[in-house]
């Protein structure tokens, strides 16, 4: 009888194992998430500032070497001495931290402009444009004409537990002057 009992216990344990693991993950998550949120509260602002500073610094370098901003939205450009052209693009997936989301939510109750989201999105956009400039340089182009910037949501509207981020995608036609 003792052998039958142990077998039964083993069987129950094996069936329960996946559920136990799930429960364990749930418990771990409920402990880890508040900790990470606190981490985000403390450091996400600094991270964003650092990111912006980095983008601005690289932008400054490009402007210094080229003398002016290579990006224009003019279709066709204004110069006739173009020798080669081709498409260049750069994208970046950028999201606000959960601390910013919380602040945004509070702002949303009060109303008015939510500056924190504006800051996050502009940081992402500046980064995408800087990458477009760098792509143009990598491919040996002097300028990028007809630049378009697209912003699209990574998650559809109404998706609750999705990643909160937007994709900023910049593209244009790189041109080389003869």
């Amino acid at each position: 009888m003792a052998e039958g009992g142990t077998l039964l216990a083993l069987g129950i344990f094996l069936i329960a194992l996946p559920f136990l693991l799930l429960a364990l993950i749930g418990i771990l998550w409920s402990v880890a998430y508040p900790l990470m949120l606190i981490w985000a509260v403390l450091f996400s602002g600094k991270k964003l500032d650092r990111q912006i500073a980095d983008t601005v610094q690289r932008e400054g370098q490009t402007l210094a070497t080229r003398g002016r901003d290579p990006l224009t939205t003019i279709d066709g450009g204004y110069r006739t001495d173009i020798t080669s052209c081709g498409i260049v693009w750069a994208g970046v997936v950028y999201g606000p931290s959960h601390w910013f989301l919380l602040r945004g939510w509070v702002h949303n109750l009060i109303g008015g402009s939510i500056d924190i989201f504006q800051k996050v999105i502009s940081a992402g956009r500046a980064e995408a444009m800087q990458r477009l400039r760098e792509q143009a340089v990598t491919h040996g182009f002097d300028d990028v004409i007809n630049v378009r910037i697209d912003t699209s949501d990574m998650a559809p509207q109404g998706a609750q537990r999705a990643i909160k981020a937007v994709e900023i995608f910049a593209y244009g036609t790189g041109v080389k002057y003869g």
Partner: protein, 111 residues
Amino acid sequence: MEQMVKGILVVNTETIPGMMITEALGVVSGSTVRAKNIGRDITQGLRNIMGGELVKYTELLEESRQEAIGRMVADAMSRGATAIVNVRFATSAVTAGAAELFAYGTAVKTE
């Protein structure tokens, strides 16, 4: 990212500088739906708490866009075009886990 993708010149302007468009061959398009794998979703979800760039998703979309453009170029080649002008991109999220990337333009013959 090649400018001359398989011998076909791709630009997003209406004309090609220094070339004459002789014939328009209609709209060509290419699209791809890319799902993110679950492991990536978890790591990027954790990264999302801190905010900032989600590097893996940036890479994923880069690859997918390359593929969409490749399909568009293949479409243009099958029509005997030499260039694609006025290329536009569109992105839509089908569900939370998958994104459709769509590239379209006009296939033309040039001289």
